[in-house]
Point group: D2
Chain length 246, copies 4
């Protein structure tokens, strides 16, 4: 399968290009970056384009790829509902062309979020601990926020009330952030990359889901899954979990 | 809801009786044990019977409960296909009566096995580490065996080949047991009860599912789930995962 | 060795009595509780008394044991400097008699605190995560506070500056409590007892010390160590780490 | 402080050069590799040389550095007692010159081994789980072997007998390798680098020490410690733990 990488000079784009070159059955036929026009010619016969650029250019790039009749796998974040609608509309005019846009291509993170939502209905207690490198400017991580909200929603749908918590005194805020009733803790530690641990508790038992991302190459298996699936899924698919049998 | 406990003097039965008494909406109306006959009278108006006895008496008990027109939740292990068939046949003559038989009522263990099978298709590597108290006579645990076989089957169905493993020298057998291609490790440690950790790996990422059972009261939430579901599920249901939205 | 247990009807006292009875070489000769006078007669020939009572009675009990010429191992918390001084003074009049008073007899917790202080000088980052049952009223735990302060002091003595932390936005307080510059996180989860994880980070590496207390019987090995050492240590010894070769 | 790196083109040497350049107070004045002669001139005024080469050249390199009157920090493995003796003899003729040779510069691994030996005397049970990338050819790892032997020796010195283990049936060898009575388990997982978990157990409690090495840059803090200490330690120092207050 012939592949183009868009955003090829960026760190993710470089990792994707390397991944494509090391994968049997994939051929890297185009590497485009800012300043390169995205056309049938510049895509050079690619059947699928992998797009990892920036929030302010991903919509334009994606529309250009689809306009050229090429399937598109998009890893750039920051999509708005309006942007997704524009992609859907364009895809309606291009029968057979597919686009997969996902906020996270790390398989373990996608599995963790999906499993956490499923497990949440069955436990009295649930908390989220995320651990990242100390250069991160925001706490908690977006993944932890999404995880906590998913747990909270699953608990509501299951008719569960508030979690047990007898805390009366916590002068320093050790109990962390309360996201829709789910406590979230953020650790910052030199040497780490991106990690999340979700803990559930019932009388006499604990259940834990953990995901460790050590390196940005961890996104490639998820991108590869999308690359292999996209031609069989015309229209827009949002979220990697849609491709997974979970 | 009125509940009978069968095997009420055993350790599990005692835990179940205590659980029933502590749960709003449940009423313990009968506690039977070896020597007590199971009849409409001795069941004393129970709507559901919880059966935790021994492999050599569970079939007879279960048939007696169903024969009395009472729903049955069975936690005793050691069921044969023939035994299950006998239960199915009797249930056909008792429309509206349900029986739930499950090899494991620990919710976290049931979730772990289910999620491990789902995750297995998406990772290059997977291994199982089980940790138990040092009085356990067999290694690995039955749960770890089942987990490993489930992972192996999921990998086959996904078309995955053998896991990467360059080991050439391992004089002492540190790589553990190889169960259908999945390495299983058994730790025995004073202070532990029953724990299982399932680790998955891809380039740049790790995914971990862990279950810790600290106490036999950890079976009660699963039994409670079955008690609440059994009246709505006529016939035989095998396995707690059948009741769960996972 | 002949042993008396003081506070024998309390939960810790019962666990201690059970531990003594199950240990070869120890003989339980007296079990005293509130209302029993502590005298040479009531101690019934004991060589060592184990005292687990309440903060408001431990000083009086300890002085009475020492006054009777019996070695004393004290597990009750809440000691003041004045109380310790009274014990020291009385011991000076009883040459050969020893007393060991310690705030924590869980060996793993004592080791964790000691090792954490030693390790702290060698890492850029360190944080503490404590996890407890949800009935706990205060956060963070006293052990976590002591651990964090120990780490902070060791860092100061090693001339280390603040830990790296680029956090700019943390609207919900996910970064937890800041104890002398060490972030402390408190998790409350049904099913847990008392657990602490101390994480250290340097470029490319993480170091973790974890202690899990599942049951109050976890105090017995530490008490046993003290019982065996106390007769060889006249005067007052404060803290279990003083008995350990760490 | 002026630093030379010997073996500068190797992967470790490159990491060391990068580390030196990024550290305030260090200046990289020479980068030598195979083919370069090690002389006062080629060392170019270096006060300390960092040597990461190969087992068959490290002795010659180290003697040459010392011969030039320069302190030496050696990270190459494979040293024999005879080699160490030759270094000691040469150092006797060079008063004030120091050499530090260590089999492991990862601070967390050095701490883990030291703490494991100290903790071993206080627990009934201890096992070692090492986890590595799947390209590793030997199992268990050298670090795990050393750790297990250290634990076994500490137990003997403390007069502890065999660990509790009721295992009767283990057809596949799930209990792993038995190293002097300490069970060692080796996990191989894509995505991992080098990790070790040491678990200790007593009634009611578990104690865990874990070290994760994600990247070879994890050796630099240990090398830096040696570089700063070597000028104050004339003669040969073997093992990083000798420099640490642990």
């Amino acid at each position: 399968m012939k592949i183009a990488v868009i955003g090829a000079k960026g760190r993710m784009g470089q990792a994707m290009s390397a991944g494509v070159e090391q994968t049997d059955g994939l051929e890297l036929v185009a590497q485009l970056d800012a300043g390169d026009e995205i056309t049938t010619e510049s895509l050079n016969g690619a059947e699928v384009a992998i797009e990892f650029t920036r929030p302010d250019s991903t919509l334009k790039n994606t529309l250009a790829v689809i306009g050229a009749g090429v399937h598109c796998v998009v890893g750039t974040t920051g999509w708005t509902d309006e942007g997704l609608d524009q992609v859907r509309e364009l895809l309606e005019t291009k029968p057979g062309v597919g686009a997969i846009i996902a906020p996270n291509y790390a398989l373990s993170a996608v599995l963790a979020m999906s499993f956490a939502k499923k497990a949440a209905a069955y436990f009295e207690s649930a908390e989220v601990i995320e651990l990242h490198h100390p250069n991160k400017v925001d706490a908690p991580s977006g993944t932890a926020l999404t995880t906590a909200k998913g747990i909270a929603q699953a608990r509501r749908e299951a008719g569960l009330g508030p979690m047990p918590d007898a805390t009366e005194t916590d002068p320093g805020g050790a109990r962390g952030a309360n996201i829709d009733g789910v406590h979230v803790h953020a650790v910052r530690l030199r040497g780490l990359t991106a990690h999340e641990e979700i803990v559930f508790g019932n009388p006499g038992e604990q259940f834990t889901i953990r995901t460790d991302s050590f390196d940005r190459e961890s996104f490639f298996p998820g991108v590869l899954l999308a690359v292999r699936e996209v031609s069989g899924r015309p229209g827009l698919t949002y979220g990697l979990d849609q491709l997974m049998d979970i």
